[in-house]
Symmetry: C2
Subunit: 333 residues, 2 copies
């Protein structure tokens, strides 16, 4: 059973994931990335190489775990957290831990080994967003989970270990640090202003200022945030205030798929398909009141390597002003 352990001092939790344990000597080299279609476990006809699917979009007359699907969700074969068991939180002296209960799923975004969100048909991007929502709503029923992060690692430099296009969902038994910080600070702003959402303020102020906006459609904006940690970091923010990602209606999900694809296609075309990570920040699924929060998606390309200063301080040195990044991604020059 993997363990979740809290730092002695700060709210920093880590997973001690013994099931993935490697011998010390295994850390000496970067893991190889199997990019070959010939052995890829996510390609059609190799459904037996993954755990059985928990969701698939496939023709009605096909059996589970056979080909012909156009999107497939399976449990991670090497999960960071396990679905079975109780959380069992214990504190003894300076040691604070709970069992590594959670869920870890893989959303296989396309049967096509070489597809990318930037270049696939828009309809397929919509299906990815639908799958995020479907899995989110299903796992939300499990009351042991307090938070769910949907994220994607694209390209070897992003930490991706397989090149077949996929996203991941990890459900955790507590609210992770960065989310807690956003919730705390959004709550403080809401209280202080007597009910204003700080993300609403960001959307309206940035739409007036214009210089950091990259893209806009009826329901969403893509902007380069005022204090980006990384060069070309972008956020996609819904214009309509809502704490919950899963509250989007069919139309909003279509517009979200549209702006997500267009944003990633700017990276693809203008930055030569860089490695990136994206993740959705949405309100926790613990049933509490989060009316002060506003869901959004953050994308961080991996163009620089944060070093000792960033590790030591949580304070980022970014050589690319967001106004310049936004202009370049907006205008293509």
């Amino acid at each position: 059973m993997p363990e979740l352990r809290k730092d002695y001092i700060t709210d920093c939790w880590v997973v001690i994931s013994t099931e993935r344990a490697q011998r010390p000597s295994d850390f000496k080299k970067e893991p190889e990335v199997p990019t070959s279609k010939e052995t890829c476990p996510f390609c059609p006809t190799r459904e037996h190489m993954t755990p059985p699917e928990v969701l698939a979009y496939r023709p009605g007359n096909t059996a589970p775990n056979t080909p012909q699907w156009w999107l497939r969700v399976v449990p991670n074969k090497f999960p960071a957290l396990r679905v079975e068991g109780d959380v069992n939180h214990r504190i003894v002296q300076v040691f604070n831990k709970m069992n590594g209960v959670g869920a870890h799923e893989v959303i296989i975004e396309s049967p096509d080994h070489d597809a990318t969100i930037a270049t696939m048909p828009l309809k397929q991007v919509e299906e990815i967003v639908n799958a995020y929502k479907d899995r989110y709503l299903d796992l939300k029923k499990d009351t042991r989970f307090k938070y769910m992060l949907i994220f994607k690692n694209h390209g070897k430099g992003s930490g991706a270990s397989l090149s077949h296009p996929h996203s991941q969902l990890i459900a955790t038994p507590m609210i992770p640090k960065h989310i807690m910080e956003e919730l705390r600070d959004a709550y403080n702003y809401y209280s202080f202003t007597g009910g204003t959402c700080i993300y609403d303020e960001i959307v309206s102020t940035e739409m007036e200022e214009k210089v950091r906006i990259v893209l806009e459609n009826e329901y969403f904006i893509t902007l380069s945030p005022y204090a980006p940690r990384f060069p070309f970091e972008l956020w996609i923010l819904p214009k309509r205030h809502d704490p919950y990602f899963e509250d989007m209606d069919d139309t909003e999900r279509r517009y979200f798929a549209m702006i997500l694809q267009e944003t990633l296609s700017r990276y693809y075309k203008l930055l030569d398909n860089p490695p990136y990570n994206f993740y959705i920040h949405t309100a926790p699924c613990d049933g509490k009141d989060y009316r002060f929060y506003h869901w959004h998606l953050e994308i961080t390309p991996r163009l620089t390597n944060p070093a000792g200063f960033e590790r030591g301080t949580g304070f980022y040195i970014n050589p690319m002003p967001p106004e310049e990044a936004a202009r370049f991604l907006r205008e293509g020059k």
Copy 2:
């Protein structure tokens, strides 16, 4: 003038370092690492390639910025922050910024291009620690600076851009996020327990438990922390409670150099000279009372690549249990 900008919401500050600005196309590739002695700006006889030295350990009869030094400190030629000017903190709407005032220095650890702390004579490691202290005490006089981080990037994978052995010092006009969090949590523990330092608790508890201890001498321990973010992460903790790194006396600095070298030589020998970052966490230099804090050094090897989950949550997945890492580094098997 570079700018320090605070995230809209959280306490996350970034440097918008326009002086290092690159064209968007420059981000497409990893920067090359000049490892050649023939062009290295830190090698003796190339003193003119760096800004003039602010400290050097050299024979009394030699002139500044000439060879024969055995340790040299110079301003960073491409500083993240600039020494000139006022801080000038401004908040307008959701935009919060100050001028990028600070210091950014490079400690050239040895004239030998191929030296490493793990393998150089112990006497030289002592001189590095002396230089850290000398520069720290000098910069502490500048009341614009609230915090100073001494850190090292070793190896290309760590973010180091030059292979000649060097450390860095960055002084900032505010207390960075991770430090604030440690201070807050150490203060809470101190208040709650009526005056106990949580780091003292860690030292005594871990010395009883033994399983996470790697090395020990009269004044220090090296341990693999209970909830490490990274495989083989280690902390060096002084046994004597003191908030301030610069308070070490001559004997303590010698013992610190000794355990630092021995710790890094375990990495060197047992993990095949991996890239790593280390940094010293010490109390802020803003003149306030930090009696509840306890300085220490943290070392994080770069053996894994944190991905979207870590970026999105600040919650780390670590496949290597610290007890196993400690045993391996302690016993060599």
